[in-house]
């Protein structure tokens, strides 16, 4: 798995804010792989068939991963659904404190509900014949 420079910068950022690497798995096709960091929140950097994705989860719901477009929308900003790796990296680093606050114990449950709702609304836009 070849890691491009902007993803290396994200890794450097995550380490600078105190997250530590929990796992690095390389797949056996497409160059796929996943690197997971955590410390309060979890961040995983995934190469899925050549495309890079950065996702965030809460330690209390560790298998519920949210992409940066959803988190951006939750924080009241707006933009396209599809983000390149540099745009994802920019949101993660520039909104890091706000992203962490979303998953603080006092508001995590409400954040999960809102993120699920945003995801459902997006799915309706994407797959209109499936979700009405």
């Amino acid at each position: 798995m070849e890691i491009p420079e902007h993803i290396r910068q994200v890794i450097g950022f995550l380490e600078s804010v105190g997250l530590s690497r929990k796992a690095m798995v390389k797949g056996n096709g497409f160059g796929s792989g996943v690197i997971t960091y955590q410390n309060g929140v979890r961040v995983r950097i995934v190469n899925d068939r050549g495309d890079w994705f950065i996702e965030v989860s809460d330690l209390r719901q560790p298998n519920e991963w949210y992409d940066l477009a959803l988190l951006r929308d939750l924080l009241g900003d707006s933009g396209p659904d599809v983000l390149g790796a540099p745009e994802q990296a920019a949101i993660l680093t520039s909104r890091w404190d706000a992203i962490c606050s979303v998953f603080e114990p006092a508001c995590a449950a409400e954040s999960h509900r809102r993120l699920q709702r945003l995801r459902e609304e997006r799915a309706k836009r994407w797959f209109p014949t499936w979700y009405k």
Binding site: G29, G31, R49, F53
Partner: protein, 153 residues
């Protein structure tokens, strides 16, 4: 068509046709595949066949979930080696992916979703696969774990 025996060592070639190591030859449409030496009929392992498992089940989803689920089920999934994938243009990648889906449909495979459709990553190959199958009349099951073919209850 005929078979000719040639004594001694001969050069042989590992053909890949349309990303498959199984292919038809001649106007007789004879289906052939690779073989280990001296073990007639045993297929050679192929890292570059995009979907070499014929279990009647195909798994779609995000990495790493779809790989984990297909491994656990021994099921079919789309796979191409990094060295091949990296040489392909986006159009070639999608053409290969689409052929994989067309074969999935033609085989009548059960389609398992390792990732719920609503959780698709924006801009991902998985989302594109779902859009393609939606266009073919597939729909997700009530529990979101599989895709139901058109016309099925």
């Amino acid at each position: 068509m005929s078979i000719t025996s040639r004594p001694g060592l001969q050069a042989v070639y590992n053909l890949e046709i349309d990303l498959e190591h199984v292919y038809y030859v001649s106007t007789s449409a004879l289906l052939v595949h690779n073989s280990y030496p001296n073990t007639p009929g045993k297929k050679a392992p192929s890292a570059s066949a995009p979907a070499k498992r014929a279990t009647g089940i195909t798994v779609l989803g995000h990495y790493p979930e779809y790989v984990n689920v297909s491994e656990a089920m021994g099921a079919r999934r789309f796979q191409i080696p990094e060295s091949v994938w990296n040489r392909m243009t986006d159009a070639e990648r999608w053409a290969a992916n689409q052929k994989f889906l067309d074969r999935t449909i033609a085989h009548g495979d059960q389609i398992i979703l390792a990732t719920p459709a609503g959780n698709a990553r924006p801009g991902s190959w998985f989302k594109r696969e779902l859009e393609y199958l939606m266009g073919k009349g597939y729909r997700p099951s009530a529990d979101g774990t599989r895709l139901i073919p058109p016309g099925a209850p």
